[in-house]
Amino acid sequence: MSLTLSNPDNPTGFVAALRKHFFATKLDAVISLVFGALIIWFVMGVVDWAILDAIFRLENRDQCTYEAGACWAVIESRGRLIMFGLYPYAEQWRSTLACFVIIATMVLSCVPLFWSVRRLPALWVGGFTVFVLLMRGGFWNMPLVTSEQWGGLALTLFIFSAVFVIGMPLAVLFALARRSDLPVIAKSFGLIIDFVRSLPLLTILFAAAVVVPLIAPEALQGNKLMRVVVAFAVFFAAYQAEIIRAGMQSTSAGQEEAAIALGMPYWSLVVDILLPQAFRNTLPSTINQAVITFKETSIVTFVGFFELMASGNAAIGTGEWGNQYVEVYVFLAFIYFIFVFGLSRYGAWLETRMRLGHG
């Protein structure tokens, strides 16, 4: 006996699939038609605006005021401000190069080849050093550019990766301390974590940027960017610590007992057994936390940094391009989307890889 493809009760092909997935019942058909029409209307509108009616190159100044479509000329004209913020015009090649360095570091640290206790820290220390040297300059033919003038994409990427790289070890430390057998340590770290989580990020960043200089001795202050990054990292760590702790709690008690019974030392139990399983178990939440952090970098605007979002606002802040705010925001959204989408796809890839069993 064989199942033939021409079986009339079980047809295959495009039309059949369409019927099965979109027109199986009368209600399905109505829903499909209504939403189908909405989608087509929306996509056509976007295509009209963004491509067909759009102006890519400006021939005269008034053109954008009358046309119905997008005026992408704003990106050409203000793109440098958006991407580099207040960074000196002549030195913007350094900022571009620094962006590539930090992106390369991010991408490399996503490659399993670099996941070792020696390679990963070496990679990030190297990446940050080159980034800061390039951005700051002050040697050879590169004039000094202080961190107050850093801006745009380079600053956003720097804040995100520094927060992640400082915050992650801190989160592990917080999580371990909260699980400590010593009640004093467990309780006090529990208190710290809950305290930090109960404050809005903005409050914490304000305290770091404005209040710390008033109360801390000069030697301990560092510069403003450093203080803000460290404060942001503590905020990140408080949330991530709870994710890691949940991950450790979800590994069975048997894992810990087995390691202890085998005579493995505590650090090995944590580093070799508990943490890898904790990160595996909580990968979706960890990626989620990274995505949130990437988008929240825009909050540093309020303590006086010109990261990507603030630079975008500055680009439309002058009267000249004031009407093109939609184009600028779409452009910004697209940049954020590239990074966040990349992060999500990477998370999905990691999950598949781990399902297959690799450490």
Binding site: G254, G263, I273, G357
Partner: protein
């Protein structure tokens, strides 16, 4: 007579108000195979977990190979390196391959180098007849295979004493014998073995001594044969009848 491998003297243990072990004393001579049986909740597992310091106890003393197992973490760790343990639920590390499960503890616990540890791991895996699975992950193996890996992992550390905590109770019936077979082979060597189990066939085949626990006490002890043919306590008679069914 030489000192016993394990010397347990008047141990009491509480879980909150629950009196889990009541004045338990037990000597296990070097090389003996001891089976501990008894109804659930009788304190069997708690007792053997006191031997490698997985449980603390309220009073009394536990000495293993002349080392006191108690509050001293350092001594506990010395003991653990000479006492292997196999658990009911295998407790293999799921994120590591079978081979790495056996290699890593050797490196971390006794500081062996990777080459020597790998060689030892392959030897023990072969002995347990699971060497062909070395590159797989635990969840790709059957329960019986996983338990034999767990045994190989413990043997890699060359323990003088092996503890088995209900090693076959989580297994499907058809896999029990493959685990019992390798345990019997081990028992015929001169290793000191304490096994908590209800497998009376295993007890009859290799146990030098069987003890029965109930309500935190050692109720009866003797050879497996004596337990079946001439039990002195009603509890023993009931239990033997139950496990034979």
């Amino acid at each position: 007579m030489a000192d016993p491998a394990i010397h347990i003297q008047s141990v009491d243990k509480y879980y909150g108000d629950y009196h889990a072990l009541r004045d338990v004393s037990l000597d296990v001579p070097d090389g003996q195979t001891l089976v501990i049986c008894g109804p659930s909740g009788s304190g069997k597992s708690t007792l053997i977990r006191c031997i490698n310091g997985l449980e603390t106890y309220a009073s009394g003393s536990v000495e293993v190979l002349g080392l006191a197992v108690g509050d001293d973490r350092h001594l506990c760790n010395l003991v653990r390196k000479q006492v292997g343990m196999v658990f009911q639920h295998f407790n293999l590390f799921p994120h590591l391959t079978i081979l790495e499960n056996c290699v890593l503890p050797q490196i971390r616990a006794i500081g062996k180098d990777r080459t020597a540890a790998t060689e030892e791991a392959r030897t023990q895996l072969a002995r347990m007849q699971v060497d062909i699975h070395a590159e797989k992950y635990p969840d790709q193996l059957s329960g019986g295979q996983q338990q034999r890996v767990a045994l190989a992992r413990a043997l890699c550390l060359k323990p003088k004493i092996m503890l088995f905590d209900e090693p076959t109770s989580a297994l499907d019936p058809e896999m029990i014998s493959e685990v019992l077979d390798v345990m019997q082979a081990l028992a015929r060597e001169d290793m000191t073995i304490i096994c908590v189990t209800h497998e009376m066939g295993f007890a009859r085949a290799v146990a030098d001594r069987v003890i029965l626990m109930a309500e935190g006490r050692i109720v009866e002890e003797g050879t497996a044969e004596q337990m079946f043919t001439a039990p002195t306590h009603q509890i023993t008679r009931d239990f033997m009848k139950a496990v034979q069914r």
